[in-house]
């Protein structure tokens, strides 16, 4: 037995068993008294409206698949597999499979999309570039990076004229361009409010984590990130025949990324606090949640109802995930029921 344990301990984290039990810290449920959050939507700009219309124009473009004899042109859509490297290791979250992108110069990746122009469809490209000095991740500013890219497919786009009656009619948002823009303004206004409410919810959750003085152990953060990586990236890398040391390198890239760590710690803090509140206030999952989840799984996911029934009844991993999600949502609803929303400027 000890020998088996010893062998298990030698397995790299990247290949470790995925369901090893973890010890969660004890957290006291915080008070829900006096919770307030400010509802402060961002204003809409002319740029926002034009960007929204541009997305619709792109969406209505006529698309033609390029043949294997053709080359990629500026403005094409391309289907890419990618992996990026920077600072001597895999760039976290740069491993992508079957991702569509617009071939258009992007200041965040200077030279990346330009390097695809003129490449034959079906070939691979090695792109070296320097990340810009204003990159959103501070540690990557001005850093050299390399990307290995497979150009798997390309489509030529022919854009409609946004002022043409045919295009306007196709949008179903009024008969004239001003009417279309007014519709877009209304849609954006609603999205701004949605965004503000989501922000208010995040404020509340942060306050609860502070009230509860949650301390998330480093080992728990490591394990959360590892399991996320196991779900999101490892299967892809294994399909591409990455070797064990490369898998470990990929996992390390996630584990060592400061934003990823901070995000995981925050999510864990929130979950621990909500769990404590759910226990104290005896929160129960809601049947309505199950209805909608089942609707999603039998609808867009096209899982036959009989198969879904079998999976939900017999697959322990699915049951656990379902229970976790339903309880988290029920606890979140309960917390938000105690919150007083305030108008901008009145203080949260």
């Amino acid at each position: 037995m000890d020998e088996i344990k010893g062998l298990l301990n030698k397995i790299p984290a990247a290949l470790a068993l995925d369901n090893a039990p973890v010890k969660l810290p004890e957290v006291q449920a915080p008070s829900l008294e006096g919770l307030t959050a400010e509802l402060s939507p961002r204003p809409i700009t002319q740029d926002d409206l034009l960007e929204r219309l541009a997305e619709l124009v792109r969406g209505q473009a006529r698309r033609r698949d390029r043949t294997g004899e053709e080359t990629v042109a500026l403005g094409d859509e391309v289907l890419l597999d990618t992996i990026g490297y920077a600072q001597g290791r895999i760039l976290p979250f740069s491993v992508r499979e079957n991702g569509w992108a617009l071939v258009n110069p992007d200041p965040l990746l200077p030279g990346f999309y330009e390097a695809l122009v003129g490449r034959q469809v079906g070939l691979s490209v090695d792109i070296a570039l320097t990340l810009p000095p204003d990159h959103p991740v501070e540690a990557l500013r001005g850093v050299p990076a390399r990307f290995l890219v497979d150009v798997k497919q390309a489509r030529e786009l022919t854009l409609p004229d946004p002022g043409s009656p045919e295009f306007i009619a196709s949008l179903g948002r009024g008969g004239t361009l001003p009417e279309v823009m007014r519709h877009l303004g209304e849609e954006l206004a609603k999205e701004r409010l949605d965004e503000a409410e989501r922000e208010a919810r995040e404020q509340v959750l942060d306050v609860l984590v502070e009230r509860a003085r949650v301390e998330v152990p480093t080992a728990l953060v490591d394990e959360e990130i590892r399991r996320r990586w196991v779900e999101a990236e490892r299967p892809l890398l294994q399909r591409k025949a990455f070797e064990p040391d490369e898998l470990q390198q990929a996992l390390d890239a996630w584990l060592q990324d400061p934003l990823t760590r901070a995000d995981a710690a925050r999510r864990l803090g929130i979950a621990l606090v909500l769990a404590a509140i759910a226990r104290r206030d005896r929160i129960q999952p809601q049947r309505e949640a199950l209805d909608s989840i089942a609707e999603l799984l039998t609808g867009p996911a096209k899982i036959p109802r009989e198969e879904l029934k079998r999976v939900l009844r017999s697959d322990a991993a699915v049951q656990e995930r379902l229970a976790n999600v339903m309880m988290q949502l029920a606890a979140l609803d309960h917390v938000m029921s105690k919150v007083k929303l305030t108008a901008p400027g009145s203080g949260a």
Partner: protein
């Protein structure tokens, strides 16, 4: 003639908006539109009533719509058969009559990228590349030249990053700071570099956009006032609507797409759309292979929906209440 991408770009005729936040516009009646937001106290009451009935059902239901929207996007884009050879990953000559494509993603080319050295294999036919260089020898040679220096530099950076993260974990205020950093970075990702579509739109629709700007801004202010005014109603209903509305499908689709194409680390897990995109890819893959793993699909869908409704990825390792038995009984009564 319709404009094509790649045509010379016209210079935008409209002034660009400033990034500063304007003063909150006055709340005035909107331009006549039957579907506009409530304009009066009675209208507000109607909105409150609507919120009251939105409830938890809508929390999940609207999140499900958001998931569906993004999933459809992924499906629409990802299910076509590719031209040419699929190359990333295991070497595969396939049956294409034309010259084959070498996967850059061989052990050797990956190692070269780690070290920042030129792989010199871009667009080389695969057979030539593998004949000239054995992958493992390539790695060893490259390591001898640059490996120690690269490893040392990486370790130092790792140490600094870990310390920064540790601080953010232990102090509440720093968690808020982290959220600020994350949100600012996410905002950068969402900014779209001008492309052909945008250039044409600027020229054609700039004036129309300017004309509706005031009305749209007033609508935002009115909407905020209406939602705040629901205070005092059953807050559970408000919370349900709140969480659901946070899952605007369009925003999530855009976020998922842009974050994915820009390879910015750390933010992917901070944005709920990542789970949705992963789910969409899983569904697409299941259709493509014709051999779906129902358990995996179900797990992906549940995770995506939970992330969107809660506006954050729900941790994998934690359990909010260990209610498996309760959920099992719900499942039992469901079928």
């Amino acid at each position: 003639m319709a404009p094509r991408i790649g045509d010379p770009r016209p210079v935008p005729q409209q002034p660009q908006p400033t990034s500063t936040r304007p003063a909150t516009p006055a709340v005035t009646p909107p331009a006549a539109r039957p579907a506009a937001q409530p304009q009066t106290a009675a209208g507000n009451a109607q909105a409150q009533q609507q919120d009251r009935f939105d409830g938890p059902i809508n929390l999940i239901g609207r999140a499900a719509n958001a998931v569906k929207s993004v999933t459809d996007t992924v499906l629409g884009l990802a299910t076509k058969t590719t031209n040419g050879q699929r190359t990333f990953g295991p070497f595969n000559l396939g049956s294409q009559p034309r010259s084959t494509v070498e996967p850059l993603n061989t052990r050797g080319s990956r190692a070269a990228s780690v070290l920042g050295t030129a792989a010199s294999v871009a667009q080389l036919p695969g057979a030539a590349y593998t004949a000239v260089r054995d992958a493992r020898n390539f790695i060893q040679n490259a390591t001898a030249e640059n490996g120690i220096k690269a490893a040392g530099s990486g370790a130092s950076l790792v140490s600094t990053a870990a310390n920064v993260a540790k601080g953010a974990i232990e102090t509440g205020n720093l968690i808020r700071n982290f959220r600020g950093i994350r949100d600012a970075a996410a905002q950068t990702i969402l900014q779209r570099a001008p492309d052909a579509a945008r250039s044409v739109v600027n020229r054609v629709a700039g004036e129309a956009a300017q004309q509706v700007l005031d009305g749209a801004s007033r609508q935002v202010a009115r909407g905020a006032a209406a939602r705040v005014a629901t205070e005092g109603l059953e807050a559970a209903a408000r919370a349900g609507a709140s969480a659901a509305r946070g899952a605007a499908p369009h925003v999530l689709a855009a976020t998922a797409g842009r974050a994915a194409s820009r390879f910015v680390p750390g933010l992917n897990v901070a944005i709920a759309a990542a789970d949705t995109a992963a789910f969409g890819a899983e569904v697409a893959n299941a259709f493509r292979t014709g051999d779906p793993n129902w358990g995996k699909l179900a797990t992906g869908g549940i995770t995506a929906l939970g992330s969107i409704a809660a506006a954050t990825n729900i941790p994998v390792v934690s359990q909010v209440g260990a209610a498996v038995s309760t959920v099992s009984s719900l499942v039992g009564s469901f079928f």
